[in-house]
C-alpha cells in the first residue's frame, strides 16, 4: 500500500476521532462549539501525527516527537489557508445552491489534504539529516 493511501486512511481515521471527540465535548460535557472545536482539532492532529509517524512514514528516520507534533499543528493550520481560499473562491463564482456549496466544500477539503500531505512529506516527517 503506498504512502498516499496510508495518509488518506490516517486522515479519515483522524477525522472520525475529531468528530467523535467533538460530539462528546458538545453533547455530554456541554462545552461551547468553539472550545470543543479547538480541543477536538488538537487531539485529531495528535492522532494524525502519531499514526503518520508509525504507519504512513514508518520507514523514515524521525526527529523527536514533540517537534513533529508542533510541525504537524503548523502544517494543519497552513493547509487551512488553501482549503478556505478554494472554498470561498468557489462560493463566490458558483451559483448559490446547497449542491454547489457541498462541491466547493469538497474541493476545499481535497486541496487541504494535498497541501497537508506535501507538508507532512517534506517538512513534518522529512528524514532527519
Amino acid at each position: 500500500m503506498n504512502a498516499k493511501i496510508k495518509f488518506l486512511i490516517v486522515g479519515g481515521f483522524a477525522f472520525l476521532v475529531d468528530a467523535s471527540v467533538y460530539l462528546i465535548l458538545t453533547g455530554e460535557l456541554q462545552l461551547s462549539p468553539l472550545s470543543a472545536r479547538v480541543l477536538a482539532f488538537t487531539i485529531a492532529v495528535l492522532v494524525t501525527c502519531t499514526c503518520n509517524r508509525f504507519i504512513t512514514f514508518a520507514n523514515r528516520i524521525h526527529q523527536q516527537f514533540y517537534k513533529q507534533y508542533a510541525l504537524a499543528l503548523l502544517a494543519g493550520l497552513i493547509s487551512l489557508l488553501p482549503n478556505l481560499v478554494v472554498f470561498l473562491g468557489m462560493l463566490f463564482v458558483l451559483p448559490n445552491t446547497i449542491v454547489f456549496e457541498l462541491f466547493a466544500f469538497m474541493c476545499g477539503t481535497i486541496i487541504g489534504i494535498i497541501s497537508n500531505f506535501v507538508l507532512s512529506d517534506k517538512l513534518v516527517f522529512a528524514e532527519k539529516a
Binding site: M1, I9, G12, F13, L16, A19, S20, L23, I55
Partner: protein, 461 residues
C-alpha cells in the same frame, strides 16, 4: 506496534467509535424508536419478560422480543437511557461484522475490506444504533447464510448448526419472515446451479436438516408457546396478520399498533439504493467495468459464490417487490452480500474506497449536528419534559407520544376530554397539541411553560 496493524483497521475502528459516541447524541424520536424504547422500559419495569407491552397491561404482538430483551437487559445493568437501550444493537452489529469476516477469510476475500464496506453502508450504520428489530434480524440472516454456504462447501456440520442458530435468532428477532428470506436466497441458487432433483439430494446429503431444525425450534419455539399461553390470540395475529395480510393488503386495517404504510409496488428496489448507499452506487460503477466484472468469475472459490451472493443480496427485494406495506430498512438483510461482492471485485484497497467509506459518517455528522436538533424539536418530547417536577401528574390531551411516555418514565396519562381533569390533583402538567390550543380560556388556570413544534406544556395550578 502500530505499524503491524493493517491501516484499514484504523478506519474501521474510527467508524465504529463514531457510531458508539453518536448513540448518546440524539433523543428517542417518535414513532418507531421511541415506541420500541418504551416497550423495553416497560419490560424492565414490570419484569414481564414473556410478553412485550405496548402500554401497561396491553400486549405488543407486532414483533418477537429478542431486541426488547437485549435493550431491557442493558437498561437494567446500565440504567435506562438512550445509550444503554441502543448499545446492544451496536454490539450485535459487531457480531454480524465478525461472522461476515469469518466467511470472507474462508473464501480468501479481504475481511478488512468487507468489514469496511459493510460498516460504512448507510443502512448498517443507522440500524447499528437504533432500537429496532433490524440489527438482530441481520445477525440471524447473516449467520444462516454464512453457515449454509460453509456447511455446503466444507461439509461442516458446525457451520450448518451456526446457520440453524441464525434461523432461531431470526425467528426471535422478527419472526417466520427469516425463513422466507433465506428460502428466496437459497432455493433459486440451488435450482440454477444444481437443478431441482440434484439440488434436493445434495441439500439432504450436505445439511443436517432434521437435527438443525430441532436446534432452531429448541431456540425459538418455547417463547412462541409461552407468549400464546400468556396472551391467547398472539399466534393468529402475528403469523397470519403480520406475515400475510400486512404485506398483501395495502393499508391493512388489522394493524393494532399504527397505520400500515402504503408505498408503490416495486419501490423496494429504490430503497435499496438509499439503504446500501454509498456502496450501491459504487457497486453499479464496478459492474459497468469489464475488469471488475471479470473478477467475479476469475476467483476460485470451489463454490458457486457469485450467484450465491447475488441471490442473498436480492432476496429481500424479491420478497417485498409486490408489497406496499414496507420500510426502506427491509432491504438490510441482503447488504452483507453486497459488501462481499464489492470486496471480491476490488480485491484491494483503493483511494476511492477510502473516500467512499467516509461518506456515511460525514452525512451522519451533518445530520446529527444540523438536522437532528430540528427533528428532535418536531418529533420528540425529550426537551419538552426535561425540566418538569416529577412529583406532579402529567396528562396528555387526546394523544400521548411514545417519547412523552418514555421520558416521563411511563407517568404520562392520556385524557380525551378536558372535563376529566376536574378530579385531578393540583398542580399538574398538561400537554396539548398546538392544533387544540385554539381557545386559551379552556386552559385559563394553566401557565404556558414551554413548547416544541407540535406540543405545548402547561402547568395547571
Amino acid at each position: 506496534m502500530l505499524n503491524r496493524i493493517h491501516p484499514i483497521w484504523f478506519l474501521i475502528s474510527g467508524i465504529l467509535l463514531f457510531r458508539l459516541v453518536s448513540l448518546t447524541f440524539y433523543p428517542l424520536i417518535d414513532t418507531t424508536e421511541a415506541r420500541y424504547g418504551e416497550i423495553a422500559r416497560i419490560m424492565l419495569e414490570t419484569q414481564n419478560w414473556v410478553t412485550p407491552q405496548f402500554d401497561y397491561n396491553v400486549p405488543f404482538w407486532g414483533k418477537p422480543p429478542l431486541h426488547t430483551w437485549a435493550s431491557a437487559a442493558f437498561g437494567g445493568v446500565l440504567g435506562v437511557s438512550e445509550f444503554s437501550l441502543r448499545l446492544p444493537h451496536l454490539l450485535v452489529s459487531l457480531i454480524t461484522l465478525f461472522v461476515v469476516s469469518v466467511f470472507a477469510k474462508r473464501f480468501n476475500i479481504s475481511a478488512s475490506l468487507v468489514i469496511l464496506v459493510l460498516a460504512s453502508t448507510l443502512g448498517f450504520f443507522v440500524a447499528s444504533g437504533m432500537i429496532m428489530t433490524d440489527a438482530f434480524l441481520l445477525l440471524g440472516m447473516t449467520m444462516a447464510m454464512v453457515g449454509f454456504a460453509l456447511a455446503w462447501r466444507d461439509n461442516s456440520n458446525s457451520f450448518a448448526y451456526l446457520g440453524f442458530i441464525g434461523i432461531g435468532v431470526g425467528l426471535l428477532a422478527k419472526g417466520p419472515i427469516i425463513l422466507v428470506l433465506i428460502g428466496l436466497a437459497i432455493v433459486p441458487w440451488l435450482l440454477v446451479n444444481y437443478g431441482l432433483v440434484n439440488g434436493v439430494k445434495a441439500l439432504y446429503r450436505k445439511i443436517p436438516l432434521f437435527k438443525g431444525l430441532a436446534l432452531t425450534l429448541a431456540i425459538s419455539l418455547p417463547w412462541y408457546l409461552l407468549a400464546e399461553s400468556a396472551t391467547p390470540g398472539f399466534l393468529n395475529y402475528f403469523i397470519v396478520g403480520e406475515h400475510f395480510l400486512r404485506f398483501v393488503q395495502s393499508g391493512w386495517e388489522g394493524d393494532l399498533y399504527g397505520t400500515a404504510h402504503s408505498e408503490p409496488r416495486g419501490i423496494i428496489w429504490a430503497y435499496w439504493i438509499i439503504v446500501a448507499f454509498p456502496w450501491s452506487l459504487y457497486f453499479a460503477g464496478l459492474l459497468v467495468m469489464k475488469k471488475y466484472r471479470a473478477a467475479l468469475s476469475q476467483h476460485k472459490f470451489n463454490f458457486y459464490l457469485p450467484s450465491y451472493l447475488i441471490c442473498w443480496l436480492i432476496s429481500p427485494m424479491l420478497l417485498f417487490t409486490m408489497s406496499g406495506n414496507i420500510l426502506p430498512i427491509y432491504v438490510l438483510p441482503g447488504i452483507p452480500a453486497l459488501a462481499l461482492l464489492v470486496a471480491i471485485m476490488l480485491q484491494q484497497i483503493k483511494f476511492s474506497v477510502v473516500m467512499t467509506s467516509l461518506l456515511t459518517p460525514i452525512l451522519m455528522l451533518i445530520y446529527l449536528t444540523i438536522e437532528l436538533p430540528k427533528l428532535s424539536n418536531e418529533k420528540g418530547d425529550k426537551t419538552l419534559l426535561s425540566n418538569i417536577d416529577r412529583e406532579f401528574d402529567l396528562y396528555y390531551l387526546h394523544k400521548r407520544s411514545f417519547s412523552g411516555r418514555f421520558y416521563s418514565s411511563g407517568k404520562a396519562m392520556k385524557i380525551d376530554l378536558i372535563d376529566e381533569l376536574s378530579a385531578a390533583d393540583y398542580p399538574f402538567y398538561l400537554v396539548v397539541n398546538r392544533k387544540n390550543f385554539v381557545s386559551k380560556e379552556v386552559f385559563d388556570e394553566c401557565e404556558d411553560i414551554t413548547s416544541n413544534k407540535r406540543r405545548i406544556l402547561l402547568l395547571c395550578k
